[in-house]
Symmetry: C2
Subunit: 191 residues, 2 copies
């Protein structure tokens, strides 16, 4: 694998576990086995690395949302899959979604990174809004209010549930915090 990708992978793992301020070029260097000065050849400033990190993450997440939209038959199934993304991102309860990790440390981020972060939130909200509108039509989601509000509430719930679970390093807290949300979704049909 090329060094650049190895660096991005290492940095993403580190950022999601310890936050943006919680990892240094020295950490990445010892992780992938080069000297820290060499990293500056690929990412001159740490802000450049952060930028690429969030870009790559946003792209990957958007692709996953597209796949879900294409693969799942109704709104409830799409929301279950969305919930699964956030649950999987927790790993063993030690890491967060990159965008939660970055939201938390937002004061050390540069403008372009912050912009990407808010774009990520906006896109997620837009995608969820469409799903909730679909839910109003197909009847697979209970207790609907306003689609945009439901979307923001869902995003907030996932991010908050990750925070709770990670604070205690206990995945079951994520499940408890999101249990009521899953209850609103009609069960998938048998084949």
């Amino acid at each position: 694998m090329n060094t650049r990708t190895a660096l991005l992978d290492s940095a993403e793992r580190a950022a999601r576990q310890r936050g943006y301020d919680g990892f240094s070029y020295a950490d990445l260097a010892s992780d992938i086995g080069i000297r820290k000065a060499s990293i500056h050849h690929h990412f001159p400033k740490k802000a450049d690395l952060a930028r690429e990190l969030i870009d790559r993450y946003a792209t990957r997440f958007a692709d996953q949302l597209s796949e879900i939209a294409a693969a799942e038959p109704n709104a409830a199934a799409k929301l279950r899959a969305y919930h699964g993304l956030y649950r999987d991102a927790l790993g063993a309860g030690t890491q967060l979604c990159l965008c939660v990790a970055f939201s938390a440390g937002r004061d050390s981020l540069t403008e372009p990174v912050l912009d990407q972060l808010n774009t990520f939130h906006a896109r997620s909200t837009a995608w969820l809004s469409l799903v909730f509108e679909e839910g109003a039509v197909d009847g697979s989601v209970a207790n609907l209010t306003d689609a945009a509000d439901d979307a923001r509430a869902t995003l907030a719930l996932m991010e908050g549930a990750q925070l709770l679970a990670r604070a205690a390093v206990d995945l079951s807290l994520f499940d408890q915090a999101t249990a009521a949300f899953l209850c609103r979704l009609s069960p998938s049909q048998m084949h």
Copy 2:
């Protein structure tokens, strides 16, 4: 005011705006007008300061919950007041509740501080559980599931909504994310 309290106040403001790693003794020193070496007289290590910070915060929060429990007539009113605490804590959209700020940067925290953080979460959840059980009796809260799950979901929603609002420095995002939650609460009576 005594120096010790001034330091705690300054540190709390800083931590809620920039996180635990985001402020230094130098920041506090210039903020309250002493030299940074003097701070070590009051708090030998930064971890000591963090400990006192979270202790004080947890105590204050518990008192507020007691007041709410005593003052509000039913479950819906108590939850509205609880929601108000988190909304107020956001200020102009630039700061978080201390415990969200600490949850985010958890990897630089020491064991006693982490313990206090989880105790805080546990107490909040316990208080909310009782309120949701009251709601099941007085009928003032809609769409109830399991009281403990509803409690964790509520805590996660508040923390996540704060994160969303702070990322964009936009209080209205908190309101949108929590709008559906408020809708579940029956309106207060006229007098």
